[in-house]
Symmetry: C2
Subunit: 246 residues, 2 copies
DNA sequence: GTTTAATGTGTAAATTAAACACATTATAGC
DNA sequence: GCTATAATGTGTTTAATTTACACATTAAAC
């Protein structure tokens, strides 16, 4: 009844006090956050996992999670938990979805909100507090603890969709990058191969890549041109958003 | 600590009992569900709202919500709450997102999970338990109670996106419908006008509409042909899902 | 029977996506 | 240094899709 609606005329009169007692005493549930941190590393997509210390899940890997405090914003909890577990702080987290079956956690009722991020493994130094925190190639992620496999699958799908609709990828590259870097990124995340020539045309036509008139250094092959992502140019473009297609 | 990860080597040994006490005693939070029920009615998109009975929000409208019980699956809670408040049961609910700022509810800390649905107003009889439950034209929805305006906006956006990617719309139409019905539906949900000829071509090319060789009855104009949606045909089509575009 | 307002259909132009080939350049190996 | 190698850089052609746009047809309303 906490949002103030009525179920019947007879129950119409519900004071804030009554509601408060319901909120304070009964019906409370442990709420957690689980972070799915995707990392891009040398043309591979990885995910950050930690080994479960529950006997029930001995040897299994799990996502980075913890309880939300009663006086802590949900988003803030996600950032705190990520920071505590990894030392990472300048990372954008995005909520994906909430998992709330009764028996998903062996210690009792815990509803968890999944958050997802995507970073470059080389750009962020992990604060490895124990040696059970590791990057895992996403192709080898199976049989996680709890319902974390389901959460992981859901986040990966969401990531693959989002990366096609928003320029997330550029955060993963150095400020200056080659088109090969960019294509490797998309191929790793989407797990597909693309035609190099069409890929280049696609991104050039999007008109937010700036030619830096510099070349790659120290690469073991012919150096490519370097580009940067221009956010203002990206924002300025009008996007047609209607496209019924299913 | 509930998902079993460790914060430091020193804290490595955490038994299920310790975790259980954390889940059971501290850190618990009231969890609610709020349902955003969109209704399509005669070429208009509406949303089901109820008047708030909290003094703080006197006169304002709010979404259909209530607390989740400790031994109830999250999805089940959403269906229960919808049923209790409206009598609706054969309606598909989809989770949209979770809102968890500390001060979003005046009665205390309540994190809420938003669920969204889309039904045909004419097909579903509401069980109106009091006269404060009403359909509202979405164009007139402003200034809802709590953070419900934000939740509503978020769900509307999600609906508009989803309806372009999945054939949700056909649930809203009669089994037999005309292409004009279908176009009205999309125009109402997306709040745009489309070219009638191109709209037809689009849907015919998608190849899951079956011509019933029947005509509309009792319409005040030239009757149109009637079609039905063939789910098998829809499923069978392969969809290319890669299309980087932002 | 005439008017009206909707349905049903088609075509041309523009844009976008897909397939595909060759010259160029720096490195690596000799 | 010379050659072989393997990557970069660039267009063209075709197909597919989207957009813009006009006219004949049909049933209801008068």
């Amino acid at each position: 009844m906490i949002t103030g609606e009525k179920t019947s005329p007879a129950k119409n009169i519900k004071t804030l006090q009554v509601i408060q007692s319901e909120v304070e005493n009964t019906n409370r549930i442990a709420l957690s956050v689980d972070c799915v941190i995707f990392g891009f590393d040398e043309a591979k997509l990885e995910v950050l996992l930690i080994r479960s210390d529950l006997k029930k899940f001995a040897g299994k890997w799990s996502l980075l999670g913890d309880l939300v405090f009663p006086e802590e914003d949900l988003d803030a909890a996600a950032y705190r938990i990520l920071k505590q577990r990894t030392g990472l702080s300048d990372v954008y987290l995005e909520q994906v979805s909430t998992f709330g079956t009764v028996n998903r956690h062996p210690a009792g009722r815990v509803v968890t909100v999944a958050y997802c991020s995507l970073i470059n493994v080389q750009h962020h130094k992990l604060n490895i507090l124990d040696n059970e925190l590791h990057w895992h190639d996403i192709k080898n992620v199976t049989d996680l603890a709890f319902d974390h496999q389901q959460i992981f699958d859901s986040c990966l799908k969401q990531l693959q969709k989002r990366v096609q609709e928003h320029p997330l990828g550029f955060n993963l590259l150095p400020k200056k990058f080659s088109l090969r870097d960019l294509q490797n990124l998309y191929e790793a995340i989407l797990d597909i191969k693309m035609d190099r020539r069409n890929f280049r045309k696609k991104f050039f036509s999007m008109d937010f890549l700036v030619d830096l008139e510099e070349m790659e250094q120290d690469v073991p092959h012919r150096p490519g041109k370097l580009y940067k992502f221009n956010y203002e140019k990206y924002e300025k473009r009008k996007k047609k958003w209607v496209g019924i297609d299913f």
